[in-house]
Subunit: 253 residues, 2 copies
């Protein structure tokens, strides 16, 4: 055996530092192994997150955000659908408050791709970074204490600063959706989402089916006519009638 498997795989990662993308066929020649071997290496390296696969090759992975990156891998299709639907509801020159989370991050990426000239107020690094890729948007970051695990800002300074803004729409994720309202697993973020709702004319809540009929620590939003719930599957009858009575609009992606 010329080279061990791990040596070869290390070589592949190294090659990717030199060139941002590689073809299976080229690499097989360069390493004098079969294309199938290269393909199998690609599969393994992709599972370990060291490369990204493309049709016919592989490319250098973009970032290495761990905690969020993992969660972001789940329910990607559902979140994409919800994000696309939610973006339809945004108009040029809207002023948005956007909460943190994997789902709202999808939304932010679509916003950067499809919209222009928006002002976005947020407390999440990932959201700000995603939106700033489109220089036509204006991104305002809220002050407060930084939580590195979540990549979020929160605390009394954050709530306080929100009182000085007013937005046309708040766009929020949730870890639980019940008749009582939307809820989040953290108290700090929950308080911020509540404040964002109160300072916005309308609220969009994005929550996939796994969040339905679950309740989390901090309930931050009650159903009202100013709220639109965007989800990816039909709601249970009880919850649905409850929302209808409250006047909440429902969008199923």
């Amino acid at each position: 055996m010329r080279q061990s498997k791990s040596e070869r795989q290390a070589r592949i990662v190294a090659e990717l530092r030199a060139a941002p993308a590689l073809r299976v066929y080229d690499l097989a020649h360069r390493l004098t192994v079969s294309t199938e071997t290269v393909r199998r290496d690609f599969t393994e390296l992709e599972e370990r997150g060291l490369i990204n696969r493309t049709y016919g090759g592989a490319m250098r992975p973009i970032s290495l955000e761990p905690a969020i990156a993992e969660r972001e891998q789940l329910l990607v299709e559902e979140r994409e659908r919800m994000a696309s639907c939610a973006v339809q509801l945004i108009k040029e020159n809207d002023i948005l408050m956007v909460g943190g989370g994997a789902t709202t991050l999808h939304f932010a990426k679509r916003l950067a791709a499809e919209c222009n000239h928006l002002t976005i107020i947020t407390h999440a690094f990932s959201i700000a970074a995603a939106l700033a890729t489109n220089p036509l948007h204006k991104v305002l970051m809220l002050p407060g204490q930084y939580d590195g695990r979540e990549g979020l800002i929160y605390g009394p300074d954050t709530i306080d600063a929100l009182q000085r803004y007013r937005a046309s729409k708040a766009v929020l994720g949730a870890s639980g959706i019940t008749a009582e309202g939307a809820s989040d697993a953290g108290i700090g973020p929950g308080l911020i989402y509540g404040a964002m709702m109160r300072r916005s004319a309308e609220t969009l809540i994005l929550a996939d089916h796994s969040k339905i009929d679950r309740i989390s620590l901090s309930v931050y939003g009650e159903w009202s006519a100013h709220v639109t719930l965007v989800t990816d599957a039909q709601l249970p009858a009880g919850l649905q009638t409850h929302l209808t009575i409250a006047g909440t609009k429902l969008v199923i992606a």
Copy 2:
């Protein structure tokens, strides 16, 4: 024609901001045009350097944000030495204001490794992220407009918020050091660094030898007895005597 050619191509570039790689087939569906049209767009966009082609699709070109990453690679050793020296000057329970930049980022990483129980106020994402790896520190993020190219917050909100804090030390980078003071290439950051100095009892300025006797757009700090300059090489005689007269302390790493 639904969308003009240039609109569509702009949209493609925007989509690439949301996802690092796209498939011809997917994109054709999403834009409701034929795969051939997408392929022809790819060809044109590649000639203009706005995308990179891959077999079956296209990917985001590498450029567009290596600004920080590249700079961070330069003079690593010198910066490490300066960072280590600067950390010696920090005491437990200090309250720090830390500016953005490659040099201060090295400092922040050492701070996370060597110190505990500090409160750090910053306007740079990278600094906040580096410090948050040590949960014993308290990291406060300043509000303001986010600049994705630099990863920095700035603007009137930022200056305003600084007025409500007081720190024991400000730790700042600089892109130029002259007898007149420290200067930065950007007006926005320059104003913030000035405000941070005024709100802090002492100031540490970190600048390697490549910054000496160069002047940048925005001069933000004058030499005084409250300032310490940390650098990695002897200063030219003229500058050195000027600092001595002003009472500025000098540390050579």
